[in-house]
């Protein structure tokens, strides 16, 4: 069973641990700019939204890459950038609907989440478990179970079920 990075916005506290750990893991430095995950903070609503690569099934970044550097590895459910093939044109970043691909000023190529080769650092440091790396169909299962309980509650309220 393949795994997937699953983000629960309601649990994110906006602590930035994922951001700084990501850049540290990949380059030995703590930096917001060099991180492959970002958190958008909507302070007036008390809400924090972590955003990173979704490793899309039909990945627009891979489709537009002129050199074939961005490719989907279906077996591991990952979209990866081949640093040797990347020419740093930035087209993949334009195509990405999540703003998840950045450009490195030093190496002059694109970079994005690589799921830390199957053991994501952001997951390890997320205290409230807003980011999890779990079997790909688990989120749907959780949603179905939640919905079932809500339905049951509604039916009980209406006297349809005792």
């Amino acid at each position: 069973m393949v795994e997937k990075l699953v983000i629960d916005i309601s649990k994110c506290t906006g602590c930035d641990s994922c951001i700084t750990s990501c850049s540290f893991h990949h380059g030995g430095e703590f930096s917001i700019k060099k991180s492959r995950i970002q958190v958008v903070k909507i302070k007036e609503a008390g809400v924090n939204v972590p955003l990173t690569c979704q490793h899309c099934g039909e990945a627009p970044c891979a489709e537009v890459c002129p050199t074939g550097a961005v490719k989907r590895d279906s077996d591991r459910n990952m979209v990866l950038i081949d640093e040797k093939k990347c020419i740093g044109c930035g087209i993949c970043g334009l195509a990405c609907p999540f703003g998840a691909i950045s450009y490195d000023d030093n190496s002059k190529i694109a970079f994005k989440c690589d799921l830390c080769n199957g053991d994501p650092m952001c997951v390890k440091v997320c205290g409230p478990k807003a980011i999890q790396y779990i079997e790909a169909d688990v989120p749907e299962k959780i949603k179905r179970e939640q919905l079932a309980h809500e339905l049951l509650h509604a039916l009980v309220q209406n006297g349809k079920v005792v």
Binding site: T13, D16, S17, E44, V125, G127, P128
Partner: protein
């Protein structure tokens, strides 16, 4: 310079609009670690005795934690230091949020504000680009609108430190608000920023922080993260915030109520963290930079007279200061009043402290309904608390006097009102019942900034957890001293905690990781500091750095003329008993004197004067400080 530091101290003189950068010397990092420690050294060097805290000679020093910006757990805190507006003595405030880490990413470990602008300004720090801009458009705005303006003008990725109308109007209970909802609160620090005509400091940092030994650091940081995630106290803080302990503290008569006349209040349920969750006020949990604990709250009121209120908090302290202290158990009034304090940039502890003092004045006939413009300051009237917050921030009517803080207000109102002014050295005491906790009593009497829990949190004396009992055993030799009603061995407990707290603050850690939850130990901190900076430091050495910081802060106050005679507690907690069941608890002069004797001796301070001896200062490599203190001898 070690890679984990930005390596620079940024100086901004608002009188001359001059900006300069000073390299951060590695020796400073070695001796004082960061934030609170290096701030204290800068304050010692820059502020001379006899100046006006609200004059241009005072400096306002922001210090990022030594490990802020890294993934060390709960390491993102910032210390802000100056000569206190309310206290006219050493003042350090410590605050969470994201601003400090951003300053570090911009390349600066510390920011020193000198002088005063001739008209309102704000500072923008965008990596190497520093600008002092006209603040006419935001002067007068509340905190969240100030933040909004700066983000609209400069970009969403700027974090702000700013004052609200409270600081602008030089309220001596005004805070500096960081990242909108985190308060560098105490001692009137917001008034110092206001006196410099400085509305806000916006920071964006796109740089990086390096680590001397990355894999060793990662191992130490992840170990500490793991320890914290398993800590029961930290889990409670996540679920119910600092208010998770309200009901327990109230049941032991340690929850100050009715202006410290009693330690409990009936109907406590509606002031608990659990209530905020159950009744749906809690909408989110917020974490400071790199913090997995996430104790900060985000609450809203969706119905009723305060509908539409959105606030960060309320915290334990707020629920006691603006709630039980005023006899109020009305959740929504406390949430509203706390939210207004955030908006106006006021310290909730001092604001609640001065309001409950006014309630007692009203009860005793020293303040009339005429003085309050018709407000009835009677115990339990939450709406009156809310209205008084407005009046204080805007200095309207009686609020103009209360904005001066409890010490000055009691001098103005006169009579015997000084007896129920629960302050010492100009600082409203925080919400701890020292009559029922003797380490706290000793710590509150001796803190360089005044009577509160945020320089020494001696929770271990209650012996609530195995870790706490271990610490008491380690420092006193016997677990039996984990008893808050004892006066024996309190000096040992206070000393360990104050040194540990100084290290905690200096490295940017949160007390909830190291001296309350005890998940992050001095050994962990020494390991993280060593591997991050490359300055190899043992547990004992790092605790000695903490002791150095504590002594330097003490020396600063000594230089200003303070001594043993100023190590006192508020009159009420020294002269009026607290009834706990059949027990009657007090702090007596005799008892405090004995604890002070023990404490000075353990510190190596002169027992008669409370002044650190030359030998002690030299042992701590503070020989130059000794030369200043003992210049005449």
């Amino acid at each position: 310079m070690s890679k984990v530091n930005g390596g620079k101290i940024l100086h901004v003189d608002l009188t001359t609009h001059k900006v300069w950068v000073e390299p951060l010397k590695e020796e400073l990092v070695k001796q004082y670690l960061g934030a609170r420690g290096i701030n204290a050294r800068l304050l010692w060097d820059l502020v001379k005795p006899g100046i006006d805290p609200l004059g241009p000679e005072n400096v306002l020093i922001f210090g990022t934690g030594g490990l802020s910006g890294t993934h060390a757990p709960s390491s993102g805190r910032t210390s802000v230091t100056c000569l206190g507006a309310a206290t006219n003595r050493y003042l350090k405030t410590n605050v969470g949020g994201y601003w400090g880490a951003r300053l570090k990413y911009a390349g600066y470990d510390h920011l020193v504000i000198h002088g005063a602008a001739s008209k309102p300004v704000y500072i923008v720090i965008d990596d190497d680009k520093i600008e002092i801009l006209d603040a006419d458009e935001i002067w007068g705005k509340i905190v969240k609108d100030t933040d909004k303006y700066i983000k609209e003008m400069h970009g969403n990725d700027f974090e702000t430190a700013c004052i609200g109308p409270g600081g602008e109007k030089l309220a001596k209970i005004a805070a500096i608000m960081i990242s909108v909802s985190f308060a560098a609160a105490r001692g009137g620090i917001g008034a110092v920023m206001g006196s410099k005509n400085l509305k806000a400091i916006a920071v964006r940092g796109t740089g990086s922080i390096g680590i001397a030994q990355p894999s060793r650091f990662n191992e130490a940081a992840m170990e500490a993260r793991d320890a914290l995630s398993k800590d029961v106290g930290a889990q409670g803080l996540y679920m119910y915030g600092t208010a998770s302990i309200v009901e327990g503290v109230n049941s032991t008569h340690g929850f100050p109520s009715y202006n410290f006349r009693q330690g409990h209040i009936d109907g406590i349920e509606s002031l608990t963290g659990q209530w905020l969750v159950e009744k749906g006020y809690l909408k989110g949990r917020l974490g400071c930079a790199s913090c997995g604990v996430s104790c900060h709250r985000y609450c809203t009121i969706d119905h009723g007279r305060y509908k539409g209120t959105k606030i960060a908090g309320p915290e334990y302290e707020t629920l006691s200061s603006l709630g039980s202290g005023c006899g109020v158990t009305d959740t929504e009034a406390v949430i509203k009043a706390g939210g207004l304090c955030n908006d106006y940039g006021l310290d909730t502890i001092s604001t609640g402290g001065v309001i409950q003092w006014a309630f007692e004045c009203y009860e005793k006939g020293l303040i009339s309904k005429e003085d309050t413009d018709g407000l009835e300051l009677v115990w339990g009237n939450g709406d009156a608390v809310v209205e008084m917050v407005h009046k204080i921030a805007l200095r309207q009517g009686l609020g103009d006097i209360l904005a001066e803080g409890t010490r000055i207000a009691s001098q103005r109102i006169g009579g015997e009102s000084w007896k129920w002014a629960v302050q010492s050295n100009g600082l409203e005491q925080s919400r701890v019942e020292t009559r029922a906790a003797k380490s706290y009593a000793l710590a509150f009497a001796t803190h360089s900034r005044g009577p509160d829990h945020l320089s020494t949190e001696t929770l271990a004396e209650f012996g609530l957890t195995p870790e706490a009992r271990d610490i008491v055993k380690k420092v006193t030799g016997d677990e039996k001293y984990a008893n808050p009603w004892l006066t024996e061995k309190r000096a040992e407990i206070v000393l360990w905690h104050e040194n540990c707290y100084a290290v905690t603050d200096a490295l940017g850690f949160c007390a909830f990781s190291s001296t309350l939850a005890y998940g992050v130990t001095p050994k962990n901190m020494a390991e993280m500091f060593s591997s991050a900076t490359g300055i190899e430091t043992t547990e004992d050495e790092i605790m000695e750095a903490g002791e150095r910081i504590v002594n330097l802060e003490r020396a600063f106050n000594i230089k200003l003329g303070y001594n043993r005679t100023h190590d006192v507690l508020p009159w009420r907690v020294m002269n009026e008993p607290l009834k706990v069941g059949t027990n009657v608890l007090m702090n007596s002069k005799q008892e405090l004197d004995k604890m002070l004797d023990d404490y000075y001796q353990l510190h190596g301070w002169d027992p008669d004067t409370g002044i650190p001896t030359r030998d002690t200062l030299q042992r701590l490599e503070l020989g130059d400080v000794a030369n200043v203190l003992f210049a005449d001898s």
